[in-house]
Assembly symmetry: C2
Homo-oligomer: 364 residues x 2
Amino acid sequence: MTSTINVNLPQQSYEIAIAPASLDQLGQSMANLQLGQKVVLVSNPSIFKHYGERAIASLQSAGFNVASYCLPAGERYKTLNSIQKLYDVALENRLERSSTMVALGGGVIGDMTGFAAATWLRGINVVQVPTTLLAMVDSAIGGKTGVNHPNGKNLIGAFHQPRLVLIDPEVLKTLPMREFRAGMAEVIKYGVIWDEELFTQMEASKHLNQLRYMKPELLNEILTRSCQAKADVVGKDEKEGGLRAILNYGHTIGHAIESLTGYRLVNHGEAVAIGMVAAGQIAVNLGMWQQAETDRQNAIVQKAGLPTKLPAGVDIAAIIDALQLDKKVKAGKVRFVLPTQIGVVTVTDQVPADVIQQVLQGMQ
Amino acid sequence: MTSTINVNLPQQSYEIAIAPASLDQLGQSMANLQLGQKVVLVSNPSIFKHYGERAIASLQSAGFNVASYCLPAGERYKTLNSIQKLYDVALENRLERSSTMVALGGGVIGDMTGFAAATWLRGINVVQVPTTLLAMVDSAIGGKTGVNHPNGKNLIGAFHQPRLVLIDPEVLKTLPMREFRAGMAEVIKYGVIWDEELFTQMEASKHLNQLRYMKPELLNEILTRSCQAKADVVGKDEKEGGLRAILNYGHTIGHAIESLTGYRLVNHGEAVAIGMVAAGQIAVNLGMWQQAETDRQNAIVQKAGLPTKLPAGVDIAAIIDALQLDKKVKAGKVRFVLPTQIGVVTVTDQVPADVIQQVLQGMQ
């Protein structure tokens, strides 16, 4: 089962290549793009232990000159301090404008490697080799890169499209179960905002919460349809002028929860799951969506082993205050993405604070 | 004497507005562009003392909500640490994607403000209000932003075009003489690489080394023709894929000298002047240019009060080594911009190290 999805952009298009064991084709795939000889592979220690040597061997056999560097794992290291370390590595290896940074890892590694590549010499090549489900279906595609400010997630960043996204589904075998489920949150998101067929396939499946119980055909559908949804949206709106905002379904409240829990208690996918449950209910309370539909959504969220309640101890007033820091705030008004039917959403900044409060109270 | 020059780019074009006393029109000019209400004005203490209040008054009277922040003056503060301070200011003032950072100052303030704007929320608006000749004719135009790495100038950065460049020639009255001369180095560069008419006007003028002896008509020609040259080149090659490289005339060796002297002993314009003298002689020694022409160039450099010799104590071998760190290095080969006649240059990576060494020895 091999799929190739094109991300079509005015300045530079690229491929998302999905194929089992494709990690061993990394070097050849990059050679086909005629990238410069120097490569820095960025990873974290546990991912590197599993897949670093195979990636390097593939790159070297295609003639690349490879250095590698591991950043510590975890969202709390997604800081400018880590970026400075990547700059030092870039300098030590005398990277040139034709050189490439390869991100081998999850969203944190991908975002940081992308940002370092975006800002070294005003932009060198980056290739994304996502190793988590979340990175495969979301963060590795579309060129959003960045790091966290101590007071807010992803406040520092740049748009910088990769030259290639290479997805090897086999690497998911070593992904911890909790992280697999986190990725499923984004997959469910695509079902709700864009792809009703993906939604109903997940609805029909008995098992969504563990990779080992999932049929390879369903996994392939999940990866291909999710990547296609992301590519469709990004291709129509590269820099979040309009349509791309719909990808933030569940993220508005999700980001606030992540930030308030210090990026530790709740992971990104779990926060998005909670955010989707909240947004669904807000849409219902505003008369935009039906209760039966949001119940269908919430059933899939639960089947994927994801939370549908607020984490204990998070203050609702603090969530509402934190929404003001969201990047999507415009003239002080928070923008929400709300479903109107399965596969269709709308964007509005007309959500009264008391509706948000009421919904969050119901999720305690 | 009012001039408007358009920088035409595929994604976002903008105006360079040159007019005496236009600082008082800053707010209205920005209001015409329908930028968001929140503005952070970035400057340094001495510039702010002279012009900060006028800029703020103009912005406020046009309805903007203005905060201001001063960074310490000088190239040695052009660091990621300063950028982090701007991020904190952006956060405190809850800047949104429609908000604007205004750079009121020279190249250092412009580069840093541009980089902070490029990377806050993945890109907010920036308006450049250059107060030095060098920033007016060069760094404020074209979207290059960035900071220095401890081991190299401008190694960290992004392309981020301003929404407007507003040039008020009257602010040059408070510019120190040495900095005025530094700006003249870039003006002379445009004469050599692009605009023979500008070159001959400077050749015909008695005074180039002090603003107060310069006729207003010549100053206007210098500003307008230099900005037009920069706009022409950037409009044809926004991201330095080809033609834009010619703007680096004098900069290859210039950057190496700045770096080796710790960005203190020699300023950017002086380094570029030395670099142009070196590049001109390299072109002559390679049989590409005539000695009489490089002598004409060097005469203008001297008339502008700029150096034509290497600073004492700089090691020639160290310069040649430092060239390898230049951003324009490709496959280990240093690219040089070399004149073939007044107003025309060519780019080559075929300059033997012994020719560079010989020319530099002649400049000790």
